[in-house]
């Protein structure tokens, strides 16, 4: 870890409020998300195949939304949304670099997980979409939207935590998680962080919009794991070749 990163971590940790507790933070996210998912699921009855198709459609839309939010809001200084840019680009990316991408204690969850009100905002958006779909077509479809959106949010937070956890003895063998771990650690290289590897769950939108650091097809992207054979060769370099080394550690 560079002295600069170590200094930033020390300063950031000193500013975390004493009342903060990482496990409460995580518990809140999963209690709220889980409750919303459970409540919405209680309203689904005798779903038809057409209504069930809403699930993969919402998964894809959520994936694109995640890409958009990360690429166009979290990494762009936009008036009125500077708090998000500061928290992500200026704090999260200094706390975690591709050379030292792992957290040390549960208090570091403060900078790993989103604040819980982001989930509330996401659930409100999904509920509005679900209500509209419910009115226009089918109540089951509307509830599927809420269920899937809540599930995707919790999926996002879990995968992101997996990217920043030290011990990968188990997760390095789990499909999708090993893929996103290499993908996201590479994103923390400051040479490419502004425009590459913006997905945090499944690198579908990165493949779709050509913003991945890999040169391979969709299935190859999704099941790439830690494989570094398909890295693009036209990527900006910073302290050459260390993306792969850090991801493979």
């Amino acid at each position: 870890m560079s002295p600069r990163q170590a200094k930033f971590r020390e300063a950031y940790r000193a500013q975390i409020a004493p009342a903060y507790h990482g496990l409460i933070h995580v518990a809140l996210i999963y209690l709220i998300g889980g409750s919303a998912l459970w409540y919405a699921a209680q309203h689904i009855h005798a779903a038809t195949p057409a209504e069930i198709v809403v699930i993969p459609v919402v998964v894809i839309l959520a994936n694109i939304f995640e890409w958009f939010l990360h690429a166009k809001v979290m990494h762009r200084p936009i008036a009125g949304l500077m708090g998000i840019y500061n928290r992500h680009t200026l704090a999260h990316h200094q706390f975690f670099t591709h050379e030292a991408p792992y957290h040390d204690t549960t208090r570091d969850y403060r900078i790993v997980f989103f604040p819980p009100y982001a989930l509330i905002a996401f659930l409100v958006m999904a509920s509005i979409g679900g209500a509209i779909l419910g009115q226009l077509w089918s109540a089951n479809a509307g509830w599927f939207v809420v269920c899937t959106a809540a599930g995707m949010y919790m999926n996002y937070e879990f995968f992101h935590w997996c990217c920043h956890v030290h011990d990968d003895r188990i997760i390095r063998h789990i499909p999708f998680i090993n893929t996103i771990r290499r993908h996201h650690v590479a994103h923390h290289n400051t040479a490419i962080m502004m425009n590459r590897n913006m997905n945090l769950t499944y690198p579908f939108a990165d493949w779709l919009f050509g913003t991945s650091d890999l040169r391979r097809g969709l299935l190859g992207h999704l099941f790439n794991g830690y494989d570094t054979r398909f890295l693009r060769e036209d990527m900006p370099k910073l302290r050459g070749g260390q993306i792969q080394a850090a991801a493979a550690e």
Partner: protein, 68 residues
Amino acid sequence: MAITIRDREPRKRNIASLVGGYVIAIGCFVLWVLCASQLTQWPPSLPVLAFGLIVAAAIGVWIRLADL
């Protein structure tokens, strides 16, 4: 790209945690009422609502104190 390193400063709570505290408290209370109505009856009884209010307020206050 300019990246700044924050020096150690006196701890000061962010306005976002104040707004977030209210948002979370309201959101949690709404969820509580919805889930309680699903598990018991609509509308939930007064004690259930009162307990939900206390839980939601406690979560909102924690968000503010934790400066989340």
